[in-house]
């Protein structure tokens, strides 16, 4: 009978891979997700049928509670809150692996060395994924400060925690049968490690952190698979682990920072001082002036940042884009990889506002032809369009890839005021010859432009 279960697991693994493969295009992605869920259904069903289940009432209880909570969560979550949701799910994945490792150990404490080592690793990685994700969630939800929490001796503490993980792991693995207290301590230390490693990371770096924790949750699942020697857990855990690492890398590259720098530097704890030197003149314009510019434009490129979502201006932005298209202009949206609060977040927010996905362009696709763009409209974005990243070697963001809006014929920057951006860095874009500032709340300004268009 084990054979049959293994076959079902192989089928599930294939469906997971095919599901991800279908995610290579928006048109097929939804079906991919369905295939993947079919794989999961088969795996669960196969397990229930194959294994002798002696306490079905408990299992049923767990499944009902979990499914109901998941369904509610998926239904009520706002698209702007997706990062929090993913952080939470990362954490639950880690916690599930931790609990499985613990249950296995409790069942059979006198396991061999292999099982002891893999169990201890599962519990530690699962635990740190859980507690780290809870901290990331709290920072994103702003129930705790988004500022890096730094204190003296932090590095020493982290080193001590890490050292105790290894020391405890070795002690435990040598004699698992007589070391239940050490096992419990390892659970605690794993949880502590998650907290101490995420608190020094600033809120602005959470996209990297949740990508990394996503990877950890996969690794924890993979390790659990090694404990019980289950192939489908290993395959799936590896897929998730790889996915998280790839996304982490993309995020780091888009900010031109190393992972080590994100994790350990406490970036954002010091406010960058305003750069000296001549700034030039800021030229502002009114909504009717902006309308005149847009009305005459043959091509318009929108560059949205998270400020767009904060102002809840996605729908107004879509409406303006649609009117511009009707007016004969070529319209596109340029999305920087770190726009939004997690990888791909801005795309989801615009899709929710009914923006057609073929208008959503990646940074590398728009930059080569950007000097042919008549008007670039920057909404609630700042650092990702800051030319200092290209020109000013002393800038903290120097070297970061940006959307080169300053090379467009005209740039309209919608902004509340002249305050510096999230990272507190001066933006020379605002003083450029071809830049016009359009001050005000993004939503109100966009709606004003829309009504200007509708009046004519």
């Amino acid at each position: 009978m084990t054979f049959l279960a293994e076959m079902v697991y192989i089928a599930a693994a294939v469906l997971f891979v095919v599901g991800i493969k279908r995610m290579s295009a928006p048109a097929t992605a939804r079906k991919g997700n369905l295939l993947s869920s079919l794989g999961m259904f088969l795996a669960v069903l196969g397990t229930l049928i194959h294994f002798r289940i002696l306490t079905p009432e408990f299992i049923l209880l767990g499944m009902v509670i979990g499914s109901a909570a998941g369904a509610v969560l998926a239904r009520v979550v706002k698209m702007t809150e997706m990062p929090q949701m993913v952080a939470l799910l990362n954490g639950f994945g880690g916690l599930a692996s931790l609990l499985v490792g613990w249950a296995e150990y409790h069942k059979n404490p006198s396991a061999d060395l292999y099982t002891a080592v893999t169990t201890f690793l599962t519990v530690v990685v699962g635990g740190l994924t859980f507690s780290g994700s809870v901290i990331a969630w709290a920072k994103l939800k702003e129930v705790m400060t988004g500022k890096p929490i730094l204190f003296r001796g932090q590095q020493t503490l982290n080193a001590a925690v890490l050292l105790s993980v290894f020391a405890g792991g070795v002690l435990f693995s040598m004699d698992p049968a007589n070391n239940y207290p050490i096992f419990i301590a390892l659970v605690g230390v794993g949880l502590l490690l998650g907290v101490t490693s995420v608190i020094p990371i600033g809120g602005a770096d959470m996209p990297v952190v949740i990508s990394l924790l996503n990877s950890y949750s996969g690794i924890a699942g993979c390790l659990a698979g090694f404990v019980i020697q289950n192939t489908v857990l290993i395959v799936t855990g590896s897929l998730v682990g790889a996915s998280g690492i790839i996304l982490t890398n993309i995020m780091c590259k888009a900010m031109n920072r190393s992972l080590a720098n994100v994790l350990f530097s406490g970036f954002g704890s010091v406010t960058a001082k305003a750069s000296a030197g001549e700034k030039g003149e800021v030229k502002s314009l009114t909504a009717p002036d902006a309308y005149a510019l847009l009305e005459a434009a043959g091509s318009v490129l929108f560059v949205p940042g998270y400020g767009l979502a904060v102002a809840q201006a996605q729908h107004a932005c879509h409406e303006l884009a649609a009117l511009l298209e009707k007016n004969g202009a070529e319209v596109a949206f340029a999305i920087h990889p770190v726009a939004g609060r997690m990888p791909g977040h801005m795309n989801v927010l615009l899709a929710e506002a009914n923006v057609s996905y073929d208008l959503l362009k990646e940074m590398d696709d728009v930059n080569p032809g950007i000097d042919a763009v008549d008007v670039a409209v920057v909404i609630g974005a700042n650092d990702v369009v800051n030319p200092a990243a290209r020109e000013d070697a002393s800038s903290p963001i120097f070297g970061m890839p940006i959307i080169n809006v300053d090379k467009a014929r005209t740039v309209i920057v919608m902004k509340r005021s002249m305050a510096a951006g999230f990272a507190g860095i001066e933006n020379p874009l605002f003083y450029k010859e071809n830049t016009r500032m359009l001050f005000g709340d993004a939503k109100a300004v966009l709606q004003e432009l829309v009504s200007e268009f509708k009046r004519t």
Partner: protein
């Protein structure tokens, strides 16, 4: 079975899965990275398979309790992950270009 016979086999699966995963996932465009993450949350809920066994074998009440909790958390990932991914993906639509 002796672990030294099984371990190379498990490591082989691990290595091949990593390579395959890297290959497939790097083809996912950045426009879909958020659904990719929530979708991978869903499939990492596969831990439910291990949790079911741990909860259902009825060895002792502690294992059953830990297993049941693991089942619940993994199911949040499975159901919540797939549903929210589907919700997001259904928003990605291609609209006809307006005829001038």
């Amino acid at each position: 079975m002796d672990i030294l016979t099984v371990l190379p086999f498990l490591l082989m699966i691990f290595v091949v899965a990593i390579l395959l995963g890297t290959e497939v996932i790097s083809k996912v465009p950045s426009i879909l990275h958020t659904p990719l993450m929530s979708g991978s949350n869903a499939i990492s809920g596969i831990t439910v398979v291990a949790a079911l066994v741990a909860a259902g074998e009825g060895h002792n009440w502690v294992s059953t309790l830990l297993g049941t909790a693991a089942v619940a958390f993994a199911m949040i990932n499975v159901v919540g992950g797939y549903l929210v991914t589907n919700r997001m993906l259904s928003m990605f639509k291609k609209h006809e270009e307006p005829k001038p």
